[in-house]
């Protein structure tokens, strides 16, 4: 797409911004109330999921409509590891990372058999299968789901407010890690081959890039972190259930809209999209279907007129302003 704008810029600026936000966000729990922290935790989780979808679609050109499969699977894995295997809750949470990575390997192997355009619907079918199977697993409460045991929840903080703080830090740490990893990947040799692939897959193959290997790597990274985020989400919701843990609307539909509106193929895109989404949700959630229609229309408009999203629109507006200023000064 708009290759040069999307891929320009060094890694120094994003890293500096990342450092600054860490300095602001980490001590925040000492200044704000539980409600605000819960709100921000929600934002961090959504933003991380959006970053991971963008990593696949914006950077890798792989559109998945089945990201909720991994979020849900991570939640169920966390529940199974803690409740059925009796593992330490922290260890269980950490284990959802390799669990998600391992799960995404066969999933990718099956999906990559389909042509690019059909990958999307194929991923959706797989997510459906995951959700239906989750509802049939013995010991997970069937279709209505099951609550986490209190002592597992309490491992993350004995009192409610300490738990809210800890989950806040945890989800923020995951977000920082995800963004840091994406910056790293995009500036690695793999990242450059990815850009070559995104611009022209055939030409990239001629230069020795194996598109499928690169896409598989992205898919595994995103699967691993989505699964971890699913575990954190379970800790927030205190329960797993098929329709909630594997929510198509929450973990795929909203996420796609956020990234498309914010700006695909740039790290700032999902950040803008997620913030905008959370703010709009505050004011428009009472309108349910109308809110969805507005989001859908905005996403279509963005795809037709500026596939780079708000990120590129803002950049363009700044350039224009700088130019007029220059002209005025001269």
């Amino acid at each position: 797409m708009t290759g040069d704008i999307m891929t320009s810029g060094s890694q120094k600026l994003p890293l500096a911004v990342l450092g600054l936000s860490v300095a602001v966000m980490v001590p925040l729990p000492f200044f704000v109330d539980n409600g605000t922290m819960r709100y921000l935790t929600d934002l961090f989780i959504i933003m991380s999921v959006a970053q991971l979808w963008n990593l696949l679609a914006g950077f890798g050109g792989v559109v998945s409509i089945g990201q909720h499969a991994f979020v849900g699977a991570g939640g169920y894995a966390f529940f199974g590891l803690t409740t059925h295997l009796g593992l330490n809750p922290f260890l269980s949470m950490a284990l959802t990372l390799p669990f998600g990575a391992l799960l995404s390997l066969p999933v990718f192997a099956i999906l990559s058999r389909m042509r690019v355009a059909y990958f999307a619907i194929g991923s959706w079918v797989l997510a459906e299968v995951f959700m239906l199977v989750a509802g049939k697993l013995p010991g997970f409460g069937g279709g209505s789901g099951i609550s986490l045991r209190p002592q597992i929840v309490k491992a993350f903080g004995a009192s409610t407010s300490s738990r809210v703080e800890n989950i806040y830090w945890l989800s923020f740490a995951i977000l920082v890690l995800v963004i840091f990893l994406i910056i790293l990947v995009m500036h690695s040799r793999r990242g450059y081959s990815l850009r070559a692939m995104r611009d022209n897959e055939t030409a990239a193959m001629a230069l020795g890039v194996n598109p499928n290997a690169v896409k598989a790597m992205l898919f595994v990274v995103s699967g691993a972190f989505l699964s971890l985020l699913g575990a954190v989400n379970t800790l927030q919701k205190l329960r797993v259930n098929p329709s909630g843990s594997f929510s198509l609307t929450d973990w795929t539909v909203f996420i796609i809209f956020m990234v498309v509106i914010g700006g695909m193929g740039r790290i700032i895109g999902p950040i803008i999209g997620a913030v905008l989404f959370v703010l709009l949700r505050e004011n428009l959630s009472g309108y349910g279907p109308i809110y969805m229609i507005i989001l859908g229309a905005a996403a279509i408009g963005m795809m037709l007129f500026e596939p780079g999203g708000i990120a590129v629109l803002v950049q363009r507006w700044k350039l224009k302003k700088a130019k007029t200023q220059e002209l005025e000064e001269a």
């Binding site: 797409m1 559109v63 619907i121 194929g122 279907p289 109308i290 229609i293 859908g296 795809m303």
Partner: protein
């Protein structure tokens, strides 16, 4: 006998799935667009049928020509007003536009018709059955659906391989730039193609709305079964799509023997197994 009955029911159900799939397959074959909103368009036309029958107080059999006409108009409008403006050099963009359209349609239907499941009725024909073998009764309406699928596929095949418009379709599908260079009005071809797609969608929608319930959220299920039928059959092969639909139909009916929740799951599982065994489908086309 129980098994034979299940196989027959599944086969006939497969006809409906093939009907769902034809439009999706055409849009991809001609325009290279994966229309994620396809299932929602089917449901939308079912609601159009419901509205027309309610408004004039007639049966869907009488209202069918009006629904077909409305569908044809909607097809032209969709292509002229939306898809014509979608750049297709990057498959990502049409895919995401269709995704946005899907969510918009679902929520418009929710606003307009509410979440309650609806169904159309055509009276006695729905319950009528014939005994095709001793002790084996088959619904007349199910046979009708299967017959419609066979007739529609036959008709589309004739159109694609025997008419000048079909030649234009194939030319555009093979190579759009070359077709345009040879003096073909590719925009007109695309518009006509979308009109035909929506007519097939209307036929599927009307038969579906009589056969069972539908609601604003039931589009994605239709999309997924249609997609599975196409991939199992092999992209671009319409008779293959019918076979794919029949396989999914039989898998669902066998699953339903265990319990209702296995019905959908077993369809998906059979699809995944076949995808692993035959990634190019049962009847692959070399160009597809």
């Amino acid at each position: 006998m129980e098994l034979v009955n299940t196989l027959v029911q599944g086969t006939l159900l497969g006809g409906l799935f093939a009907l769902y799939a034809l439009g999706l397959s055409l849009v991809f074959g001609v325009m290279r667009i994966v229309n994620i909103a396809h299932g929602d368009l089917i449901v939308l036309l079912a609601y159009v049928g419901l509205t027309v029958t309610d408004f004039f107080g007639v049966s869907i059999v009488v209202a069918a020509p009006a629904v077909l006409l409305l569908a044809a108009g909607a097809g032209w409008f969709l292509q002229r007003g939306l898809f014509e403006f979608v750049p297709r050099h990057d498959p990502l963009i049409p895919l995401l536009v269709a995704f946005g359209l899907s969510i918009i349609l679902q929520n418009l239907m929710l606003l307009g018709f509410g979440a309650d499941p609806q169904k159309l009725s055509i009276g006695r024909l729905e319950q009528a059955s014939v005994e095709i073998l001793p002790d084996l009764h088959v619904g007349v309406f199910s046979l009708l659906i299967f017959g419609a699928a066979v007739a529609l596929i036959g008709g589309l095949q004739l159109m694609i391989y025997r008419t000048s418009f079909g030649r234009a379709l194939r030319a555009v599908s093979d190579n759009e730039a070359n077709a345009a260079m040879l003096g073909l009005d590719t925009r007109a071809v695309f518009r006509k193609a979308f009109v035909i797609v929506m007519v097939t969608v209307a036929i599927a929608a009307m038969l579906m709305s009589v056969r069972g319930n539908f609601d604003p959220a039931s589009g994605p299920t239709r999309l997924l079964t249609a997609f599975e039928a196409i991939v199992i059959g092999g992209l671009g092969s319409m008779w293959g799509t019918l076979v794919g639909g029949v396989i999914i139909g039989i898998a669902q009916m066998l699953g339903a023997q265990i319990d209702a929740s296995w019905q959908v799951l077993s369809g998906h599982l059979v699809f995944l197994i076949l995808l692993i065994l035959r990634p190019r489908g049962l009847f692959p086309k070399n160009d597809g």
